[in-house]
């Protein structure tokens, strides 16, 4: 089943011009479920093959297992658990989870519900008197950023500083040495270093001072796995700060965009608040915040869909394509919150399943509920909206809407 018949499909997907609607290209990609690229890497685009690989223990998340060293977007810093394999991955994720969720801290996310609602309502109050609202800048960006800063214990007022770093890091994730200027990579590496320095300064103050925020808890933890080293804490905080910045914003914005394109659905959500729960799941399938797992490494030769992927190969997993696979989902291109069978890949699967997924869900449920309740007949100003550069963390950079002022 391996061929290189359409090596250009991936390049067209990565090209900025297809950012607004990559889905027809994903369909093209799925014609070859496991496609070898000219550079020797593999792209996997069908649901069952992606799901299979996400549970395959012969797939590695550690760059050192790639035979061709990637241009190190990671820099020289300690990797976070997203870029590690068991047992290190499991240990670090478990230690971070101790302060975020079950079994040690089960009530944290649900306990945030009132605070989340207050932040959302405060942001919507700020819409008053505006001609146009940018759902991204006025709402979907500041909301999760406020939340993650609070959770981590990072001063909200420093946000303008690290906003720039996070942007540069995200832009460098899909760095392609063939087509991209070297400075795209260098900016990312520098930004990682700056962000690390900044977080190191914060961490320094937390040692010996137990507090409620995640940095303080990690710095002073005495759990069954012991304490993370400072480098491990910084890597973890870095990961959560970036993920907290760049994913939920897309989910909320994609949600609003989808609803504005289907006003009858927006009306239905208004009158049927419980719908938001399955609706957010359907969003995670239909317009997910993370489209691509940019690389995993074949730790050994791996056979998938009758294709042998040689040891050391780079494997790209097209999550958003898998969630639109007609061999898995009925009418995959229809946005249908009533869908019963919705085992989507929106948060990935297996041991690397999105760490912050429960928080992202709750944030998006609260955000969309409040927006549809409080906006008066909102309409899109431009469709499609302008998109951020990244094909990996894909979403609009602005989403301008107008309300009926009567």
């Amino acid at each position: 089943m391996t061929t290189t018949e359409k090596p250009d499909t991936l390049l067209r997907i990565l090209d900025y011009s297809s950012r607004a609607d990559p889905y027809p290209l994903y369909a093209e990609l799925r014609e070859t479920p496991v496609a070898r690229q000219a550079d020797g890497s593999y792209v996997v685009s069908t649901y069952r093959e992606i799901a299979e690989l996400l549970h395959n223990p012969h797939l590695s998340s550690d760059v050192r297992n790639l035979s061709r060293p990637m241009e190190a977007v990671q820099g020289r810093t300690t990797p976070s658990f997203i870029n590690l394999d068991p047992p290190e991955h499991d240990r670090l994720r478990r230690m971070a989870m101790r302060h975020f969720g079950p079994p040690h801290t089960p009530g944290l996310v649900t306990g945030m519900e009132d605070d989340l609602t207050a932040v959302v309502n405060g942001l919507i109050d700020g819409f008053a008197g505006k001609e146009q609202i940018d759902i991204v800048d006025d709402f979907a960006y500041p909301f999760p950023v406020t939340v993650i800063c609070h959770l981590l214990g990072v001063p909200r007022e420093d946000e303008p500083r690290f906003h720039l770093w996070v942007d540069a890091i995200v832009n460098s994730i899909d760095y392609n040495p063939e087509t991209d200027p070297k400075e795209k990579l260098e900016n990312g590496v520098q930004a990682r270093e700056d962000l690390r320095q900044y977080l190191a300064g914060l961490l320094e103050q937390r040692h010996g001072k137990p507090g409620e925020d995640l940095l303080s808890r990690l710095a002073n933890d005495d759990g069954p796995d012991g304490r993370m080293t400072d480098e491990e804490i910084l890597a973890t905080a870095n990961l959560l700060l970036i993920a907290g910045h760049e994913t939920t914003v897309n989910l909320i914005t994609n949600g609003m965009l989808t609803l504005l394109r289907q006003p009858q659905m927006l009306q239905r959500l208004r009158s049927e608040p419980g719908l938001v729960v399955p609706l957010v799941e359907e969003l995670l399938r239909y317009e997910p915040p993370v489209h691509i797992i940019p690389w995993r490494a074949a730790y050994t030769d791996i056979t998938v869909a009758d294709t042998v992927i040689p040891k050391g190969s780079k494997i790209m997993l097209m999550l958003a394509s898998g969630s639109r696979d007609p061999n898995r989902f009925h009418d995959p291109d229809v946005f249908d919150p009533d869908r019963r069978d919705n085992e989507h890949l929106g948060f990935g699967s297996g041991i690397h399943l999105c760490f912050g997924g429960p928080l992202a869900r709750l944030e998006t449920q609260i955000a969309l509920t409040a927006l549809v309740q409080r906006l008066e007949e909102p309409t899109l100003v431009t469709d499609p909206p302008p998109y951020r550069p990244s094909p990996v963390l894909r979403g609009p950079i602005h989403l301008h809407i107008e309300q009926n002022k009567n």
Partner: protein, 75 residues
């Protein structure tokens, strides 16, 4: 309300224990224990948890009125 989890599907992602912690509890790192008859007041939480299950293993009663066997109605 009534709930059952297909624990042979469950892989211990704990999403349910995040979203309805009074109903779904992790027993150790990976094992799930849950309340099969949570209070109706928790319905919203339970539906959130069921929707969030990555392997769709949580079944919540779909019926308001079931044909309850006469003998059982007394219990």
């Amino acid at each position: 309300m009534r709930v059952v989890v297909d624990l042979s599907r469950c892989q211990g992602y704990a999403q349910c224990a995040f979203l309805a912690p009074e109903v779904f509890r992790m027993h150790g790192e990976e094992a799930l224990m849950y309340h099969p008859s949570p209070d109706d007041a928790r319905r919203e939480q339970v539906l959130r948890a069921a929707a969030a299950c990555p392997v769709q293993a949580i079944l919540v009663d779909q019926l308001e009125d079931r044909d309850v066997p006469a003998e059982a109605a007394q219990s």
